[in-house]
């Protein structure tokens, strides 16, 4: 993969941070989660229920009202992040596609490190490789080649981790199987789908032999009717992804390969994958 624009990524990293859904997280961390926890920051009160920790009873309220009321505090979370980067040959459809995928990966990994989280990187094409150490070196070293590996089995995943899949998502089997596998025990799962303009709307070039970068060919008259059919099939494919990702977070976030990193970040913000840092909105 080509080197990404370090300056652009660093600039974007100063403006946004990862969104974290603490309700689906566990463990202590440096960030306040959305759920109740054991931090010093007061959240609210609720009625006592048998089995609640008596240490959290608000005795002052009991003294005034004779009611057992539990005092709740904000939860402190430590997010876990796993990034799955597609390095199959389809990602080399255009240099811009590779460049944007790399930059988005680097941005998310950088944001995770800024939150004190060591990101776990999964690179996969024909086979899946887990990168635990220097993700930058690993990201620079990979080359896009081989068949799609979205459906390949992966190793042990971090329970409750937020999982971000950066890919074109063009797997013939559809997104449901992928989401089932990656979503097991996950906090959130989303797909950042990067497509080139021609992958969105192919040119009507007439008769041609279509050769897939990852294997196979098809003799087809690529006219306006064929383009319309392609777009409909692509829409159905994306709907399958969206259905599979429903209730798991940001869902499918569509990115165009010919867009800038800044525009892609705006889309990620709109989708809730990242959020503005306080005072930076």
């Amino acid at each position: 993969m080509p080197a990404w624009d370090e300056a652009a990524v660093a600039g974007a990293a100063t403006r946004v941070r990862l969104s974290v859904d603490a309700r689906r997280r566990s463990g202590q961390g440096a960030r306040l989660g959305r759920g109740s926890g054991a931090s010093l920051e007061f959240q609210d009160h609720r009625a006592y229920e048998p089995g609640d920790d008596l240490r959290h009873l608000d005795w002052s309220v009991y003294a005034r009202t004779d009611q057992l009321v539990l005092r709740r505090h904000r939860q402190e979370v430590s997010p876990r992040l796993e990034i799955f980067v597609d390095e199959s040959a389809s990602m080399a459809a255009s240099p811009a596609k590779v460049a944007l995928a790399t930059a988005i990966t680097a941005l998310i990994a950088t944001l995770a490190e800024a939150d004190g989280v060591r990101p776990r990187l999964w690179l996969y094409a024909a086979e899946v490789r887990r990168i635990d150490s220097d993700w930058r070196a690993a990201l620079r070293a990979v080359t896009v080649a081989g068949a799609a590996g979205l459906e390949a089995p992966v190793g042990e995943l971090l329970p409750g981790a937020q999982r971000i899949l950066i890919s074109d998502g063009l797997c013939p089997g559809g997104g449901a199987a992928v989401v089932r596998r990656l979503g097991a025990g996950a906090g959130r799962v989303c797909l950042l789908q990067i497509l080139t303009p021609e992958e969105l709307t192919p040119l009507a070039v007439g008769a041609a032999r279509l050769e897939d970068r990852e294997g196979g060919h098809l003799d087809l008259v690529l006219d306006a009717a064929a383009v319309t059919a392609y777009r409909a099939r692509l829409q159905r494919h994306q709907d399958e992804w969206r259905a599979a990702l429903a209730g798991r977070g940001a869902g499918l976030v569509g990115l165009r390969a010919d867009e800038s990193l800044a525009e892609a970040v705006r889309r990620l913000i709109a989708a809730g994958v990242v959020e503005h840092r306080a005072g930076r909105a």
Binding site: S90, A93, D168, L170, P172, E199, P202, L203, V205, G206, A207, A208, R209, L210, E211, D212, R213, E214, G216, H217, L218, D219, L220, V221, L222, D223, A226, A229, Y230, R233, L234, H237
Partner: protein, 605 residues
């Protein structure tokens, strides 16, 4: 061999070059290429599973596949059709029909005479004919011919009216006197080749020609004015010395004019004024001791072209004669030679040897006086070969001839010139350029030595020998006269260069003439005034001065303004000339379509 195909008429359209229709073969070729391309061009994609499967076709039977009508295909077909249009020259049939007008311009110098209005007949003709040409359609054709002994085609054959107008604007009469017949004949011939009738020929002159062929139109734009000029001029050299004889002819009202003789730029003599009509003036003072004389008519004259002549000094053509005769005969021969000019008698001859023996000396003519023994005396009648230079003006009336040779003893290569009965009296034999003239006679007996035929015969031999000497017979000629010259014995061809040889727009070109068996060359009328160079093997040898001399040349008094029109001739098939736009538009269209097709094709890939 390529089959020639003429223009093909398809109703309102004409295909000028039917072979160009072969360009249509590009259409199926392009379609085949596209049909083949639709099956083969690879295109790299991702997500192949998203593309719709191809429409299933019949498993057996005829399989018809559609060619995709892409922009590139349409542009390629357009380029092919445009190229075919250009190759086949498809054009409306109206462009193939038109008039073919042959215009003969009177190129004689008298059309440059200044008229009272300050212009000339030539200038008026340029205007009038320009208007006529402007009225022609672009499909009409014009052949513009300048008259002359050898007519010049100024535009055409079958030029467009615009081309003819351009040539007409450059036309300036420049030829000496000549007849118009050759130009008219050429115009009639050229227009007849295209199917036009004689009515399509127009003569443009300063007067209506009296012998204008029937059906030929005429535009005369002259105006009568009085003029005078040289009609003839000669440099004479004889025993009396050098002198000039000129003839001045005035037409219209007489105008007194003087003649100035200039030698090396200086006036050496001035004549008394002429009085009109025809004046013959002989000028002797100041002539001689120079190679070139200029005679100029001084005084107001509308036509300066015939007011000056340049004359070159003629060479004296001396015949060197040697006598080797018996003492009894020699005085008789010497007496006959004594009265002849232009000869020298010496013992070592280079030109003519008169002897009684048969000897051969290359480069020397031989007059052999050899009476045959035992022959009878003849009184006539004498059969004389009329027209032969040696027998010219001979009359044997009253002559008693002795020594004739019986005809059966005459050498087979001898040509009898004078004979009587069965006897040959004078015969000639040729040995290359040399001649052996044998006189079978005894001048001392009979009456030959006392008869007028004797000195006339000797004079003919000397004159013939003089005419055969190398060089020009006359260095000053009129432009419409022929010129005879004899080459040196070693030369076989001569190069004749016009006065303005090598300059752009020269009316004449350098011509090489081959000599005949006698080494003679007869030059046709040279038609252009000036000093012509005669060269041998590329080196200058002689100079021939040509002057525009003819009394009709200066006759401007008979000019008139008149037009003789004829019925408008029918249109004929004319050769089509494509205009620059007609040439460029199909080519530009083809190139543009091809370039756009390439662009669309590359963009599609």
């Amino acid at each position: 061999m390529m089959l020639a195909l003429g223009p093909l008429s398809l109703g309102p359209l004409v295909i000028a070059a039917p072979w160009g229709l072969l360009g249509l073969l590009m259409v199926p070729a392009i379609l085949a290429i596209h049909w083949f391309r639709r099956r083969s061009p690879p295109r790299s994609v991702t997500g192949l599973f998203l593309y719709p499967p191809p429409v299933p076709s019949a498993a057996s039977g005829r399989r018809r596949e559609r060619i995709v009508a892409s922009t590139s295909l349409w542009l390629e077909l357009l380029a092919a059709l445009a190229l075919t249009w250009w190759l086949a020259d498809v054009h409306p049939a109206a462009d193939q029909r038109g008039r073919h007008v042959g215009i003969v311009l009177d190129d004689r110098l008298r059309l440059t005479a200044r008229l009272p209005a300050g212009d000339s007949a030539a200038a008026r003709l340029r205007v009038r004919l320009g208007e006529m040409l402007a009225g022609l359609r672009p499909a009409d054709r014009v052949t513009l011919i300048a008259s002359g002994a050898v007519p010049r085609v100024l535009a055409g054959p079958a030029a467009t009216p615009d081309q003819a107008r351009t040539a007409l604007a450059r036309w300036v009469p420049q030829a000496p006197w000549h007849e118009l017949d050759a130009g008219l004949a050429l115009a009639l011939q050229i227009t007849a080749q295209s199917g036009a009738t004689a009515t399509d020929v127009l003569l443009a002159s300063d007067r209506v020609a009296p012998d204008l062929p029937a059906g030929v139109a005429c535009v005369a734009a002259g105006e009568p004015v009085a003029a005078s000029g040289f009609a003839d001029a000669r440099w004479l050299r004889d025993e009396a010395g050098d002198r000039l004889v000129v003839r001045v002819v005035a037409s219209g009202a007489p105008a007194p004019r003087r003649i100035e003789i200039r030698r090396r730029g200086h006036v050496v003599q001035t004549s008394a004024p002429t009085v009109g009509g025809t004046s013959i003036i002989e000028l002797a003072s100041g002539v001689g001791d120079t190679d070139e004389i200029t005679a100029t008519l001084v005084g107001e004259d509308p036509l300066p072209a015939d007011d000056q002549v340049i004359l070159r000094r003629p060479e004296r053509r001396i015949v060197r004669i040697a006598l080797a005769l018996p003492p009894a005969i020699q005085p008789v021969v010497e007496r006959a030679l004594r009265g002849l000019p232009g000869l020298t008698l010496n013992g070592v001859s280079n030109d003519l040897l008169i002897t009684g023996d048969e000897v051969t000396t290359p480069g020397t003519w031989l007059l052999r006086i050899a009476p045959a023994a035992g022959s009878d005396a003849v009184l006539g009648p004498f059969l004389i070969r009329r027209g032969h230079p040696l027998a010219s003006d001979l009359d044997g009336t009253g002559l008693l001839w002795l020594g004739g040779l019986p005809q059966d003893r005459l050498p087979v290569d001898a040509e009898p010139l004078i004979s009587a009965g069965t006897q040959v009296l004078l015969a000639e034999r040729r040995r290359g350029r040399d001649r052996l003239v044998t006189l079978y006679a005894d001048p001392m007996t009979g009456t030959l030595a006392q008869h007028p035929l004797w000195p006339a015969l000797i004079a003919n031999v000397v004159a013939a020998r003089r005419a055969a000497l190398p060089g020009l017979s006359e260095p000053n000629r009129s432009a419409n006269q022929t010129t005879y010259l004899v080459l040196p014995p070693t030369a076989t061809a001569v190069e004749v260069c016009p006065p303005d040889a090598g300059s752009e727009g020269s009316a004449s070109t350098t011509t090489v003439f081959s000599a005949d068996a006698d080494g003679g060359v007869l030059l046709p009328p040279l038609g252009q005034a000036g000093a012509w160079q005669v060269k041998l093997a590329g080196a200058p040898w002689q100079t021939l001065q040509v002057n525009a001399l003819d009394e009709r040349l200066g006759d401007v008094a008979g000019a008139e303004t008149r037009e003789i029109t004829v019925d408008t001739p029918a249109e004929v098939a004319v050769e089509r000339r494509r205009s620059p736009a007609e040439r460029l538009i199909p080519l530009v269209l083809a190139a543009l379509a091809a370039a756009l097709a390439c662009w669309f094709w590359a963009r599609g890939r």
